[in-house]
């Protein structure tokens, strides 16, 4: 076939849970060109942070990403604590580590399900999400919410862990470990899965470094860049961490790294529970943070999470820059997609565990300060979309819609 077909994947597409646009040029079923377009989720969060106090910013930063929410707030809190010159209590550090590892469990189980769904293996999705639900219950019990746990505060954590909760966590961790052994076996031996995951989305060792890939993507290419090992934070200087690496350098390798990391996380959670020190869970941090700048890296489930915080001596930060893990992995996406089949596109995209909100971060949307709400009504929105398409040479304005449809 001489003619190439251009397929847009996104901004709205069943395989994308958030908006992004991949313009895929196909030759038959082979991808010959891929253009990655994001930015649909820019919420202006960094600007919003500058207008709020450090304490309020924790909750904004936590909502950068729905899945790695804890690690974002940990990173931010660490930056601010470094600026304020406070050391958090050991117990708080252990609780943060515990939450981070529980979060890794739920994030990786979520990813496993998504990966299953992208290759049409819905049973795996249902099973792994069922198990993830147990972890989410634990997180809700500890933090108070299912995803944005809100357990971090400046100078420590907000909630303590009780002995009964520890027992519950142990039980869940046992179940998850048991289940995960099965997933490891399944991932390694199911032929249809291996046939779909193996050999696609290649990103070699050198390319991983060149494109600045982080997390499971680079570890699958034998780049040992686990921040928990190279630059220990929270309680990771005491908790034994093994960085999992793999030499497949493809989607299969990323799967292996993730399922094995779940096993590691389980061990770390047990260690945290066994060695939880006594003491306070938080120290007081002044509202006004001394002038300075801090750049802190942590290991999110998706890879290296970096925050830059600059303070100007007031109770509001001067600049907050969030570089989420997914953002670093996007750069190699074009390279990974080209040369593979259309059928592999969703799973290759999913394999970096993309988080579009993380990438695009934020901009303010409800005008809380003035209390005004800007609600676009249906008609205005339609007008807008018609004009948007008109500007691109497509006239959708001729489609007649009965007024009774405009009840909204």
């Amino acid at each position: 076939m001489a003619k190439n077909v251009v397929i847009p994947i996104g901004p709205q597409h069943p395989s994308l849970k958030e908006p992004a646009c991949f313009t895929i040029t196909l030759e038959g079923e082979k991808v010959v060109n891929a253009v990655v377009g994001t930015g649909y989720n820019h919420r202006g969060l960094e600007k919003a942070c500058e207008a709020r106090s450090y304490l309020q910013d924790i909750y904004i930063i936590e909502r950068v990403c729905g899945i790695c929410s804890h690690i974002h707030s940990t990173t931010f809190c660490q930056s601010v604590e470094e600026l304020a010159g406070v050391e958090i209590p050991r117990r708080a550090a252990y609780i943060r580590t515990l939450m981070a590892e529980l979060e890794r469990l739920h994030s990786h189980l979520l990813w496993l399900g998504i990966a299953g769904h992208e290759v049409g293996f819905d049973t795996l999705l249902m099973y792994s999400w069922r198990d993830r639900e147990l972890v989410l219950d634990i997180l809700a019990m500890l933090g108070g919410n299912r995803v944005n746990y809100g357990i971090n505060t400046l100078g420590g954590v907000r909630r303590d862990v009780t002995p009964e909760q520890i027992e519950k966590i142990r039980k869940v961790v046992d179940i998850v470990e048991e289940r995960n052994k099965y997933y490891v076996q399944l991932a390694l031996s199911e032929t249809t899965l291996a046939a779909r995951l193996g050999g696609i989305g290649k990103l070699s060792h050198d390319d991983a470094i060149k494109f600045g890939a982080v997390g499971p993507v680079s570890r699958a290419a034998e780049v040992a860049d686990d921040i928990r090992v190279t630059d220990p934070y929270s309680a990771y200087d005491e908790v034994p961490v093994t960085a999992i690496t793999d030499n497949h350098a493809d989607v299969f390798g990323r799967t292996v790294v993730r399922v094995l990391e779940i096993m590691e996380s389980v061990k770390m959670i047990r260690f945290c529970l066994d060695n939880l020190p006594d003491g306070d869970i938080a120290v007081k941090v002044p509202r006004k943070i001394p002038e300075g700048e801090a750049f802190v890296r942590t290991e999110a489930p998706r890879g290296e999470d970096a925050h830059y915080v600059r303070s100007n001596g007031t109770d509001k930060p001067d600049r907050v820059r969030v570089r989420a893990a997914s953002e670093a992995n996007w750069h190699g996406m074009k390279h990974m997609l080209e040369g593979d089949y259309l059928a592999d596109v969703p799973i290759i995209i999913a394999a970096i565990d993309p988080c579009y909100s993380c990438t695009d971060r934020a901009i303010v949307l409800d005008n809380h300060d003035t209390g005004k709400q800007s609600v676009i009504d249906w008609r205005t929105l339609r007008e807008y979309s018609i004009n948007w398409y008109k500007a691109r040479g497509i006239d959708t304005g001729k489609i007649k819609i009965a007024d009774s449809h405009l009840i909204f």
Binding site: E82, T230, Y308, E327, W388
Partner: protein, 172 residues
Amino acid sequence: MSELIAEKKALSTILEKFPFLEGKIDVQRRQRIISSPMERPLFEEVFSFVVTDGGFNCFHLVIGVDDGENLGFIYVLSNQDKVMLLLKQSAPKSNPAIKSVCATFPNALWHERELVDLFGTIVEELPEGPTYPLPDGWPAGNYPLRKEWKVEYFDKINMTYNPPATVGKEEE
């Protein structure tokens, strides 16, 4: 503080080449070397040195900051020992022109596009492509992360920026 061997080593390599930077670039803490802002010609010289000879061959991100009169750009690099180098460049707001590093580090592309959109930086030699991350129809000349840009004056429905005539000059 005694184990900062890798950091000291990386720092001494830079200081050896640029002795006049003594005091302007220092180890802030474990795994972090931080510099003070440099003008464009000096920055480009230092940058190309640390990348080629300094061993900082891994690019993480570039952070844009608003320093008031100037725009600051913090390039985050790391080397084999995972030591972070925060190299700062500054450019005046009146002509915030910097050179793209995309040729050396392809992963700088989005970060630099972000500088263009959010700070109004002029990034020379930036590859063609869509804007990122602001939406279509964003009014030209609006750079949200500059300090003088206030969210309150932005009309989100019509996408226009209407600063009140009285405010904006002296008070802010």
